[in-house]
């Protein structure tokens, strides 16, 4: 019993580090990490997952050789290498720390759903126009419309809150390269939808955030107005209780899911919505229109022609 006690006292910290490493590597290689972090941070998680076993080995290897002063023994939480010498004993504090470090992480990882419920979405508040969006570029980086270059835009009242569109136009996608250049929008700019990916039916695949930014930019609205598009998102019942419309929601994150905000576009359904479950994934094909809301801001509405259940995309979160 004493031997087991000593072995545990010496190896428990290293076991914790190995377990965390296994968890991080599992999330990284299974792709589940994609739902939690933007791509910039993911390699850091991989590096941490690879480094932790090295640190754990160092811990095991070093623990025997370093004699620790009593003052160090009392340092912070009693869980590190301190006291891991040959006469070390497993203390209640170590077991408690072990449980704190592993139980919540293990329990949270055991929850197989990697997305928020409709309750959390509502708690965070739906963002239905660009004013509520973080001032950053969209994931699809639509081309920069320029009010000064667009004669039709200057004729209308200038918007007081211009959306944060990238200064440089995005490169056309592979799908869009076959599209006719410079559609009939103006000689010096290109229809924004030309830059979007196309569905097998040839429809532009639009993200919710693209319509939010377009609604707020009068020079971009003609690019989408009346056009048939394909969208994907999660079903959220309309808060007014209407059975003929709903919100198509996506989460938009800046760094991690904890800071994600739900962005939504209103979808007018062609028929009844009975049978739809909250937060189920849908593919919507329909025509885009822009309407002035009660506060005078333009919002995008999609008149759906077809609504199909679909599987979640590889990236549940937009960023």
């Amino acid at each position: 019993m004493k031997t087991l006690n000593r072995i545990l006292a010496r190896t428990l910290p290293a076991i914790t580090l190995f377990s965390w490493s296994a968890m991080l590597l599992y999330f990284y290689f299974s792709g589940r990490l994609n739902h939690y972090l933007i791509d910039t941070y993911r390699p850091l998680v991989l590096a941490t997952g690879l480094l932790l076993p090295v640190v754990a080995l160092g811990l095991l290897f070093t623990a025997k050789g370093v004699v620790v002063a009593p003052e160090d023994e009392a340092d912070g939480m009693a869980f590190g290498v301190r006291g891991a010498g040959s006469d070390a004993k497993l203390r209640p504090g170590q077991i408690l720390a072990f449980l704190v470090l592993l139980l919540p992480l293990g329990a949270a990882a055991a929850v197989r759903t990697d997305s928020f419920s409709s309750r959390a979405i509502l708690n965070r508040g739906l963002v239905e126009n660009a004013a509520g969006m973080p001032q950053t570029s969209t994931s699809l980086t639509p081309p920069a419309p320029s009010a000064t270059k667009n004669p039709t835009a200057t004729a209308a009242a200038p918007s007081t809150t211009q959306p944060a569109t990238p200064l440089e136009p995005a490169l056309p996608t592979k799908d869009a390269q076959s599209a006719p250049p410079a559609a009939a929008v103006g000689a010096d700019r290109v229809d924004a939808t030309q830059y979007l990916r196309k569905s097998p039916e040839g429809l532009p695949i639009v993200e919710v955030v693209d319509l939010l930014f377009a609604a707020d930019d009068q020079s971009m609205r003609p690019d989408f107005e009346g056009k048939q598009v394909e969208m994907i998102g999660q079903f959220l019942p309309d808060r007014s209780g209407s059975k003929m419309k709903f919100q198509l929601v996506r989460m938009f994150m800046l760094c991690c899911a904890a800071d994600a905000r739900p962005v939504a576009v209103t979808i007018e359904a062609p028929g009844t919505l009975e049978g739809m479950t909250d937060m189920s994934w849908l593919k919507v094909i329909g025509k885009v229109s822009f309407r002035a809301g009660a506060d005078g801001r333009m919002t995008a509405v999609v008149q759906a022609e077809r609504i199909l259940p679909t599987t979640p995309p590889a990236e549940i979160m937009l960023y």
């Binding site: 811990l59 003052e71 992480l105 997305s115 509520g132 001032q135 899911a257």
Partner: protein, 341 residues
């Protein structure tokens, strides 16, 4: 809408994402802390400090520009720095300022407020954090170590009682030499710094030995800090998903309520300082001062940090620090709202 609702699924997503985002930086901080312990001579840092406490504090507040650290990673680092003889007042100044006074955070603040006078927000954020951090450092420099440092940390500072960073020898400790630098003497670390320096020169452990020590100390620090990060992340995840944010929106019209609400939000959300500006910028109806309060307080104090600070400081000091930060930042930001909207 329910005022408070808890769902394990939402908690899980939020909790894991906070951990996944923070762990790499935590490990980095812990490894840096281990390297400091093993490779940095005890008195080395104090040589670069000005003799005047004020100048030392002013310099410490800018260290984040050269050694950027996030709020999670900086705590184990300063704990080691204090034990290595850096005046605790300088360490506190660095701890409070580094999460904001860093190139990445300043640029992200500028980018986040892209169309809301970004330069103004960036400069005010950096300026307020810097002034508050220096002020706290100056106050701390007048305190005895026992008054604000955790007794366990103090025990390791007392020269003569602690054997050394490297416990490969049981050689008797030499007597401590008196310090001539007031900036060093202020926290009572001078004795320990002198003593440790002498011992380290005597022992001269091998490079491999130091590396092993760095790894083991880094691992120990990582585990120590991770416990508090897990607890803090769990509490943050509950706030993050269970409390409706719309409930604070009506407060935007009153500068006092708006500032208080935004400070409460930053405390409970415990966002990383590299991304918090993007969240603050979306509260467009809130006055400038309220958003500044969100960005300033959140980098210095939140649910997670309260737990982390316990590794270094006494509970009473943390409570007073929290109170001081809330009052000073709150008053300054409300006043600024009156002038700057």
């Amino acid at each position: 809408m329910a005022r408070f609702s808890f769902d394990p699924q939402d908690f899980s997503v939020s909790f894991l994402s906070i951990l996944f985002e923070g762990l790499p930086f935590l490990l980095l901080g812990a490894l840096v802390s281990g390297l400091i312990e093993a490779f940095v001579p005890a008195r080395w840092m104090t040589r670069f400090l000005p003799r005047s406490p004020l100048l030392a504090m002013l310099m410490s507040g800018l260290l984040g520009l050269i050694f950027p650290m996030c709020e999670c990673g900086v705590v184990p680092v300063i704990r080691r720095l204090i034990r290595k003889g850096l005046p605790a007042s300088c360490a506190v100044t660095y701890m409070l300022s580094a999460p904001v006074i860093s190139p990445v955070v300043l640029l992200s603040t500028y980018a986040a407020f892209n169309q809301q006078q970004p330069l103004r927000m960036m400069l005010f954020r950096a300026g307020l954090v810097y002034l508050v951090a220096v002020a706290v450092g100056l106050i701390v420099s007048r305190l005895r170590a026992e008054q604000f440092l955790d007794p366990k940390v103090v025990a390791q500072l007392a020269g003569g009682r602690r054997k050394n960073t490297f416990q490969l020898s049981r050689a008797p400790l030499p007597e401590a030499l008196p310090s001539t630098n007031p900036a060093v003497a202020d926290s009572g670390n001078a004795e320990a710094a002198q003593t440790l320096g002498e011992i380290e020169r005597e022992l001269e452990p091998t490079f491999l030995g130091r590396l092993r020590l760095a790894l083991s100390r880094g691992a120990a620090d990582f585990l120590d800090v991770a416990i508090f990060v897990v607890i803090g992340a769990a509490l943050t995840a509950v706030f993050n998903t269970s409390v409706p944010r719309e409930s604070i929106m009506p407060l935007a019209q009153n500068p006092w309520l708006a500032t208080g609400a935004m400070m409460g939000l930053s405390f409970s959300l415990a966002l990383c300082s590299t991304s918090d500006a993007f969240i603050a910028a979306t509260f467009t109806t809130f006055p400038f001062g309220a958003k500044l309060a969100f960005l300033t307080l959140g980098a210095m104090l939140d649910v997670k940090l309260i737990f982390l600070y316990r590794l270094v400081f006494r509970k009473r000091f943390i409570a007073l620090l929290a109170l001081g930060l809330v009052v000073v930042i709150g008053l300054v930001c409300v006043r600024l709202s009156a002038f700057l909207g």
